[in-house]
Amino acid sequence: MTLSGTYILRRVLIALPSLLGISVVLFTVLALAPGDPFGDIVSNPNIPAEVAANLRKKFGMDDPVMVRYFRWLLAMLQGDWGFSFASRIDVDTLILQRLPTTLLVVGSSQILALLIALPVGVYAATRPYSLFDQIANTLTFVGFSLPTFFTGLMLILVFSIQLDWLPFVYRADITSTGWHFYWDHLKQTIMPVTVLALFQAASWTRYVRSAALDVVKLDYVTTARSKGLKESVVVLKHVVRNAMIPVVTLVALQVPAIFGGAIVTEQIFRVPGIGSLLISAILANDTPVIMAVTFVFSCLVIFFNLLADILYAWLDPRIALS
């Protein structure tokens, strides 16, 4: 059941071309865009033409596309992500400030989603077409048909405005100390995490149910039952582990959507993560930040896909051997 280091290394080496591919897509979009991405400086009438020309030369904006691409890629890899026009600090500092919040909200929402989807999906699959299954099925349809922005507004309406239980603006500068500090933090994280978790849980429940439904029919599950194993052992040891294999793949495919949902959620609740940073950078025409955040999102997607690949091999050792 051990995972070989070579397998992990191989997956890492395979993830790199994907990252390069994404960087090419990103840069192509930027290069195809009409006008100057740094137009604010260069086309500013207050800056004399020769200064502008020098600036263009300094940033190498007149070089061939290939040269510009490799210079941009090298700079990104070295962590030299440029200077934010709007915030007046280095882009990498800005992103590093914001990233932990995003990862915290996204991470806890995924755990919550898993805690909902796994038991509900498996329970529904062991009793297909029962009342529980039908209710769960209807709720999952409702869950992934509800756009995150609408769920977010509804939660605010109910829990912040009607009931006044939870704050609807996420604050990074909570002044209370000690125990209260954590309580306030928890309270303001509940709604963003719930919104993301509900959406994910809905589609995951469907995946888990259909994967588990395929597994429970298999002979080895019947064998396990006829050996006299307890139902809980059969479900947990025989069904769940094998049902998780296709689920991991599907979850990996959903990673881009998860981060898309995070952008919306951060924007609704004003969570100071990189998603809301992206939106405010777009509104402020802050090109270096926009490029960097998009790049970070790409890296995160690749990283979680890699994680899924490794998890996949752990669940199904045949994969690592083939």
Binding site: S18, A33, P147, F150, S210, V301
Partner: protein, 339 residues
């Protein structure tokens, strides 16, 4: 990703789509399912059932899909003929009627400028539907072409196209959508005007990020169909490659594509609403459903109906379309036997 693990993955994705699509493996031709429906005895006497009738019969059995279709039809007819019946202009500003809750004069209330919400929602519905259908069309066309080319050609082209598909699947879509809109918005506006420009761009970008599942489905169908006897027969009769694809393979691969296309409409509507909700979609004077939510979100405490109505409409539309897709999946799967 390596070819091996990649193909394992691809198969799993297609197989696992039992959540989304159970149409891999051997596919009998759509018409054939009929023979096994338990009516073969009476088939000689009864009037023959056409393929469309058969699909409709199967679709009807999915009660929620039927309900979804009725609701969607009401919404579609509403947004198409509604603006002729409810002739209040969408941009008539009336500060005397600011933020009025629903009343006889304004059945869905008014916004912060006193504009009638019912009229704006009917107008916005047209845009949402148009964006959904147009983006779906792009996704289907691109996906079918790429999937068909990959499925018909072996070796390098197939590998390269599937690598491209996998790459697109792992792109962070919403950030890229926002980036593209940010970079191209102004120049497109100059060329074709703000409304058409934003519409074209939103449709192309959303459609351009949704073709991958279709391409995978079509490729999987092609891989199995091109080895089938009826295609071999056509080949033996001297049918050209194009004719094999267009006349024999493609029609039999359409079932899952139709299902994927249906769900794409819902996804495109959500994507457009998301962009508008972030304030980066259509300009403020075009009231799409997402844009209305964006405007309403700062007035949740005093005018909750303003957000509730367009939000519920998005939800109902998307839910109906998803259920219709579910019903179509059952109806178009010829292996399913009618009881």
């Amino acid at each position: 990703m390596t070819a091996s693990s990649n193909s394992v993955r691809a198969e799993l994705v297609e197989a696992s789509s039992s959540a989304t699509d159970p149409s891999t493996g051997s596919e009998p031709r759509p018409g054939e399912g009929r023979g096994r429906t338990g009516e073969s005895d009476s088939a000689a006497r009864a009037k023959p059932i056409s393929l469309a009738q058969d699909i409709w019969r199967r679709f009807k059995r999915h009660r929620l899909a039927l309900v979804g279709m009725v609701i969607l039809l009401i919404i579609v007819i509403g947004v198409i003929i509604g603006p002729w019946l409810w002739t209040v202009p969408i941009n008539e500003i009336d500060f005397g009627a600011r933020l009025k809750p629903p009343s006889l004069k304004h059945p869905f209330g008014t916004d912060d400028l006193g504009q009638d919400l019912l009229a704006r929602m009917l107008y916005g519905g047209r845009i949402s539907m148009a964006v959904g259908l147009a983006a779906m069309f792009i996704a289907i066309v691109v996906g079918t072409i790429i999937g068909a080319v990959a499925g018909m050609s072996r070796g390098f082209i197939d590998t390269a196209l599937m690598w491209l598909t996998d790459l697109f699947l792992s792109l962070p879509q919403l950030p890229l959508l926002l980036l593209i809109i940010y970079l191209f918005r102004d120049s497109l506006k100059k060329i074709v005007g703000p409304e058409v420009g934003v519409f074209v761009m939103v449709v192309i970008v959303i459609g351009g990020f949704r073709w991958m599942p279709v391409a995978r489905l079509v490729r999987a169908q092609f891989l199995s169909l091109r080895e089938k006897e009826f295609v071999e027969a056509a080949r033996a009769l001297g049918a050209s490659r194009t004719r094999q694809v267009v006349r024999h393979i493609l029609p039999n691969a359409l079932g899952p594509v139709i299902v994927a296309g249906t769900i794409d409409v819902a996804a495109a509507i959500i994507a457009e609403s998301t962009l508008s909700f972030l304030g980066l979609g259509f300009p403020p004077d075009i009231p799409t459903w997402g844009r209305m939510l964006f405007d309403a979100k700062d007035y949740l405490d005093i005018a909750p109906y303003w957000a509730l109505f367009p939000g519920m409409l998005i939800f109902l539309t998307v839910l109906s379309i998803n259920y219709i897709g579910d019903g179509l999946r059952d109806a178009l799967d010829p292996r399913r036997v009618l009881g």
